[in-house]
Symmetry: C2
């Protein structure tokens, strides 16, 4: 987050003309801005956009037609600052930044906190990156280069370097005087970090505690010693879980020597929680990042490769059907009913898998309760399999007047539901244990298993039984 | 979030013995506590648990075997305070609370902020609720009753009533003196709200701004007038989106008359963001809340009703196959290949649907860009359909030496991919427009469409072509 001075008041009326009841930006507003720009009325466009929050300006760009984004950016140039870019979808931002000169990007990056500047610069091509860094002041440049030295998606990239750290022996009065006298300190902090001689964090102090304490009290008597430290190389997903679990507003980031090198604030983490929690649904379906602003060729590449893998598994499942062509030709209705068995297994498997993937992501499924959860899923699969099997078995018996066929589909349904429940939990847990992301590849294994077992159990039982027309 | 005084320092060694490298509580620790309790060594159990953060104590209960949870609670009674309960999974919490007397629950609720107390009390049966409320102090009781008067999952239930509100004409010095002199004010605040004579919020002031400003300056000159107000009846999902979009740490909640009645802090919102973003994957798969601590019968009920609905649609799709029994009996290999066409359509449809559901949830897909996105999905579907169709068409031509069969499956694959892309985006968008939750019911419509169209296009083309063995 970066500091902004309040200048314009948005009153309720304006908010209402801007957003619909679902808090989505109205298309009438987007159209109005686009129209102004098309008609060359840049001042009109600026007048519409000027009262907006940077996050809303960013939304405006995402919602505007792709070919209008650069003309709008040109018209709004003076309003298009670092805060707007920091809030923007990365693909839309890249489009705009590609149109800028390195020195312009450098200027924008300089206005931002390190974490936001890094977010913009890390997306550039290596050559552009170097050009932008060369155009920056040495101080800013050093901070960004240091951040870039940490792995992608690590705490080191997320943190900001501007923070308030004070020595243990200061009093509350010393802290207040220090804050008031040093104009160039950040104003963007929610806690004060207390450090020892080696710049190791020894405690943290909420601002509300400092404010409620008389000036003469030592800061060491107000601070909380128990604090959650974030190693700079920790993965951002884990950082987000810690913030959530311990209800943190900000946290100190330390280097391998244990020195305080930065801080992470919750507003940066909120984006990550949202992304990480939401991306599992996209990963499970093989939709990659699922970003609607992604270049279309990129999207095709990601989705197609997933579909090709699934084509392979679909052919595998079909080959099981191939084994039973003789059986099918003796009783064609088997071909009619077999997708029911495989499909229902797929549905049941997906349920279990979704629950397991979620529980793993939230650290709720651990070695302490895995066995219990497998047993739980087995019980659920047995119950559901019995109910569904009886239901379809009865329907088939009545519809086709063939109790043997009814019994076969009932048993196949039960067998495939149990398969679904077991692979639905065992696949994600196993992938997680071997260090793979369960959300990415569970679906392939689970649906392959339920398709193969669905066809095999149903057609196999029918063959064994010697069913024929 | 509630205030806790720092008492015990957890050093790195202890953290390491407690959590594994993925930040999950180690089963060896859970086992150690369970063993102490089983052997009647309550003091040993307490010694293990005493240094833990309330969120970790809550985790311990969730990970312990169900039949050990009450014995552990008895052994740890003195450590089991409101903060622990507030962090606990609701099903596990309900189990423990069921074992308590109303006056014990009332005592725990009294220790908590209104929002956490409400979270516990709103889950109780109505009769229990009344008993607990009767056992509370009139003040606390009134606050909780007021919160319960707001709709479930609304801002009014989330907010806490303890906040710092000051009049416009005060100086920074007045504010500091007020905070220092009034011992019973909350210490849990990150911003100060400035109100007018009618208790309407007129501005907000980060604590860091107050601290960096000389005592003589008026608070009205430091505060930010532009602020995001949350109406008390706003849905929590929308509250979460606002916090995320505008990077808020806390926000004022107002009643219908525009008066300041409470505040919401980001740590309460973080849980909601996590839940709301993560639950779409569970909804899409029909797994309900997907909570692994839910009573098993509840889980069976939710999942089974979803499966029964899907059984209906599977029968519908099968009946399409039934129309073509004659065609299949003339060429049994059609039965072998048909699941490939329907299954691949299902996969492609799920990809588009996942992207659309996510984009709708994040307010990225609006009336401004729906048309553009439908066109985008159509292009993707066309490209992927062509690639997959050619691939499978070629394979079938070679494998079966039947170019006509190859052409039929190629065309069917293309048709079904286009169907998948269109329904994948149109179904969620339509559901959203009519006010239904796209995550809940999209999957049924999409897979039904891709199954029906998969079978119909493949078998229909084969029949038209007069394919036979």
């Amino acid at each position: 987050m970066s500091e902004r001075e309040p200048e314009i008041e948005i009153d309720d009326v304006e908010i209402e003309t801007l957003h619909d009841e679902d808090d989505r930006m109205k298309s009438s507003f987007v159209d109005a801005v686009v129209e102004c720009v098309e008609q060359g009325d840049d001042e009109g466009a600026r007048a519409l956009v000027r009262p907006l929050h940077p996050a809303d300006v960013a939304d405006l760009f995402e919602l505007a037609p792709q070919d209008m984004r650069r003309p709008i950016a040109k018209a709004l140039a003076e309003l298009l600052d670092g805060d707007v870019l920091a809030e923007m979808n990365e693909w839309v931002r890249d489009e705009l930044i590609d149109a800028l000169q390195p020195h312009e990007v450098a200027e924008i990056a300089t206005q931002l906190d390190t974490d936001d500047a890094v977010a913009i610069i890390e997306e550039l091509e290596e050559e552009e990156q170097r050009a932008v860094l060369r155009a920056m002041e040495p101080d800013d440049r050093a901070a960004i280069e240091e951040a870039l030295s940490y792995p992608e998606e690590s705490a080191g990239r997320l943190m900001q370097r501007d923070l308030i750290a004070v020595p243990e022996h200061w009093t509350v009065g010393d802290v207040l005087d220090y804050l008031r006298r040093n104009e160039d300190l950040t104003t963007d902090f929610w806690e004060i970090f207390v450090v020892d001689h080696f710049h190791h964090p020894v405690g943290t102090c909420k601002l509300s505690w400092v404010m409620r304490t008389p000036r003469s009290i030592a800061i060491a008597d107000v601070m909380q010693r128990e604090q959650t430290l974030i190693p700079a190389d920790m993965d951002q997903e884990e950082v987000a879980l810690r913030f959530q679990k311990y209800a943190l507003i900000s946290a100190a980031v330390t280097d391998p020597a244990g020195r305080l090198v930065g801080m992470i604030t919750v507003d940066d983490v909120v984006h990550i929680i949202q992304e990480e929690a939401g991306e599992d649904i996209l990963k499970l379906s093989g939709a990659g990042d699922g970003d609607i602003n992604e270049p279309i060729l990129q999207t095709v590449k990601v989705r197609l490769s997933w579909l090709v893998v699934n084509l392979g598994t679909a052919i595998l499942a079909a080959s099981v059907v191939g084994l039973f062509q003789g059986t099918i030709s003796r009783l064609v209705v088997l071909a009619v009913l077999m997708p029911i068995v495989s499909g229902m297994g797929g549905n049941a498997g997906t349920q279990t898998m979704a629950v397991a993937v979620r529980a793993l992501a939230l650290n709720q499924l651990t070695s302490s309760n895995t066995q219990r959860m497998i047993l739980r899923e087995l019980k659920i699969a047995l119950t559901n399999g019995l109910c569904l099997g009886l239901l379809i078995g009865l329907a088939v018996t009545i519809l086709y007047g063939n109790p043997q066929l009814g019994l076969v589909i009932c048993l196949a349904m039960l067998i495939n539901n149990i398969t679904a429940g077991l692979v639905g939990i065992l696949v994600p847990v196993t992938l997680d244990t071997v260090g793979a992301d369960p959300a990415v590849s569970s679906a392939v294994f689970v649906t392959t298993a339920t398709d193969v077992m669905g066809f095999f159990s149903f057609l196999g039982l029918a063959a064994l039984w010697g069913l024929h027309g």
